[in-house]
């Protein structure tokens, strides 16, 4: 019987395998950031261990860096300490660090692909759940905890239970790909499979609807695999993947021959089977807006907010969850999504802060102004994205429309740097999590695509971007 792409990558990385034991898996790339690494380095020191492969380990600072003027000191002392600690750890253990002043600094999941560090067929780990992003390149990319970070630093391997396989097939063509985006596809998938639908599996996204996507769009899809509960998300590499990685700063010298070998091997065999399957037809899907406090609580932009009964299908906990979510979000069932007014707009995060995201959003706002009641910001995913956008003049479009144009970082995705919502503030956000307090204590998050966020900024409330002329 044939094998899936996941099974091929897994099997080619096994160091030790025994029945009823975890497999010891070799890790090709380890990405490190300031928040989930300090205790791991402490552990190494305590046990007098070295980093086994500093040459395969790359660090940057993204989670708690301020996104304002980089020439100013970091005011939050605990953040400053964590950033300084990463600098010290990288120096002591010989790890390449893209620090706060590096032209390559940025969100770890944005810089990996941009620098050619993320490669097809490789295993990649990082102490961050959105590591799944790198799966867009046909890499097996797993988010891990700090104990596992320490284990990888010390041994370049991990003891892992082999996940099951989950095929998510995306069929059809979007009639308006500028209005209905990759974000809407992945939110639709999560709305259907649920936030635990992928638990214990690695998803492989396949089908015409995936093949048609650009690399930036594929990263948006794989990024939110974790929001569907999956261990990782994968897309088989194709010519778009190989072209993207050509001539990047860290692309291997023997790239051409690598591509030749990947073309033959990095795909699911036609007779392979998956443990689970879900099919989404995207011919008629609408822009998506989350209304609740997990990414599965999402509906079409032209729908009313469902009642807890409609949402829960008779499940008592789901119903209670929806009731609590509506209370937290200060929303009522039956309210049309387009009638929801917003206070803040955040275009950023590892989900949607790449160049294409900013290009698409800029088309919506060109020549217009952010509604007077709204504070809007754009936080490029990396300093490279920022430079590329500025070369195209996108910064001027955003600034002229009264958006703030910031330095790269995780920013308002996760409320651990100065960019946070105030209690009660309602935000149209291109990030990945709408959990209670995620963007700041008491803040209310609606997950949307960059074009939906941009249109909401101009109008002060959600609008169906399919009504706009976007071509």
């Amino acid at each position: 019987m044939g094998k899936t792409l996941f099974e091929k990558i897994w099997e080619s990385h096994i160091v030790v395998t025994k029945q009823n034991e975890p497999d010891l898996i070799y890790i090709d790339r380890h990405l490190v950031h300031e928040v989930t690494s300090p205790q791991a380095f402490d552990g190494l020191r305590m046990n007098n261990r070295k980093v086994r492969r500093p040459d395969l380990t790359i660090a940057t600072m993204d989670h708690n860096v301020p996104t304002s003027d980089r020439s100013l000191p970091i005011l939050d002392q605990t953040s400053a300490v964590q950033i300084k600690t990463l600098e010290t750890n990288c120096k002591d253990f010989g790890i390449k660090l893209f620090d706060i002043n590096s032209p390559n600094q940025g969100i770890v999941h944005v810089i990996g692909p941009q620098l050619g560090i993320t490669l097809p067929g490789s295993t990649i780990v990082c102490g961050d759940s959105h590591t799944s992003t790198h799966g867009a390149f046909g890499a097996l990319a797993l988010g891990i905890g700090t104990s596992e970070v320490e284990h990888v630093l010390a041994s370049q391997t991990l003891w892992l239970e082999k996940p099951k396989t989950f095929e998510v097939r995306v069929e059809g063509k979007r009639s308006n790909p500028h209005a209905v985006t990759a974000k809407d596809i992945i939110l639709s998938i999560i709305k259907n499979i649920g936030t635990a639908g992928g638990t214990g599996t690695v998803i492989e996204y396949r089908g015409e609807g995936i093949n048609d996507l650009s690399m930036d769009e594929r990263m948006t899809i794989c990024n939110m695999s974790i929001e569907g509960g999956a261990r990782a998300g994968l897309i088989a590499p194709d010519q778009k993947t190989f072209d993207y990685l050509q001539d990047r700063e860290y692309t291997p010298k023997n790239y051409e021959s690598l591509v030749d070998s990947w073309k033959d091997t990095l795909k699911t065999d036609s007779d392979a089977t998956f443990d689970k399957q879900f099919i989404l037809d995207i011919n008629d899907i609408a822009p998506q807006v989350s209304w609740g406090t997990n990414p599965g609580m999402t509906c079409d932009v032209d729908e009313p907010i469902p009642s807890p009964d409609e949402y829960s299908n008779g499940d008592a906990n789901q119903k209670k969850g929806a009731e609590k979510a509506l209370e937290y979000m200060d929303l009522k069932s039956g309210t049309m999504i387009e009638d929801i007014k917003i206070d803040r707009v955040f275009i950023g995060s590892c989900t949607n802060a790449r160049l294409e995201d900013l290009i698409e959003a800029s088309k919506i706002i060109q020549g217009q102004k952010v509604a007077s009641s709204v504070n809007a910001m754009v936080v490029p995913g990396s300093q490279m994205v920022k430079r590329q956008a500025e070369e195209m003049g996108l910064d001027k479009i955003f600034i002229d429309a009264n958006f703030e144009w910031r330095e790269a970082g995780c920013s308002m995705c996760l409320g651990m740097n100065p960019d946070i919502l105030s209690p009660g503030e309602r935000c149209a956000s291109t990030s990945n999590r709408n959990f209670e307090g995620r963007q700041g204590n008491g803040g209310r998050t609606h997950l949307v695509s960059p074009v939906m966020a941009a249109a909401a900024a101009i109008n002060g409330h959600f609008v169906d971007v399919r009504k706009l002329d976007l071509n």
Binding site: V16, K18, N20, E21, P22, V35, T36, P38, Q39, G43, H63, N64, D76, T78, S79, V81, Q82, G127, D128, S129, G143, I144, G145, T146, S147, E148, E150, H151, W159, E161, T195, A196, T199, G200, I226, G229, R231, N294, N317, Q318, K320, G321, K324, L414, G415, M416, I420, R433, F435, E436, G437, R438, N441
Partner: protein
């Protein structure tokens, strides 16, 4: 292992509410613990005692990979989480650092156990006894692999069986 139940009758308790992002900069575990569950239940610290168990619904610990979540709970004295299901990263983090036991339960146990009930968990028999109500439920056994990591006392102590 005996303890009392703190019950959160809901699904999808995420690691952002277990330990909000602003505290991920806190390096001292005792201080981290003072903020556990701050995003969900302001009364948690007045309730929680050494040896307690948390009972909850599906997909416990979803979201961020922050190991701070099981660390913060374990430093409050929580010894086990009983849930209908777990998100995988939280599950592994709990076991890897030997912080607490993630125990999967069935609907009968979930419905039958109430806030404050005294529970006795016997992992060797995969049994949960509700001492308060004199009822017994089955827990889902740990997979052989996870059981071995737990028995070893965490990821760094684990070694595969020698032939």
């Amino acid at each position: 292992m005996k303890g009392n139940i703190i019950k959160y009758a809901r699904d999808n308790i995420d690691t952002d509410v277990i330990i909000p992002g602003q505290y991920l900069k806190v390096h001292d575990y005792a201080e981290l613990a003072t903020h556990a569950m701050e995003g969900l239940d302001p009364d948690f610290h007045s309730k929680v005692k050494e040896g307690d168990f948390i009972l909850s619904g599906k997909n416990f610990g979803c979201g961020s990979s922050r190991e701070h979540a099981p660390i913060a709970l374990s430093h409050c004295g929580v010894k086990a989480i009983l849930a209908l299901s777990f998100a995988r990263i939280f599950y592994r983090n709990s076991v890897d650092g030997a912080f607490l036991l993630p125990i999967e339960i069935d609907q009968d146990a979930y419905d039958g156990i109430s806030e404050g009930d005294e529970i006795d968990i016997d992992v060797s028999k995969n049994e949960i006894k509700n001492i308060t109500k004199n009822q017994t439920y089955k827990m889902k056994p740990f997979s052989e692999i996870i059981g071995k990591i737990i028995a070893a006392g965490g990821l760094f102590k684990y070694k595969p069986d020698q032939d």
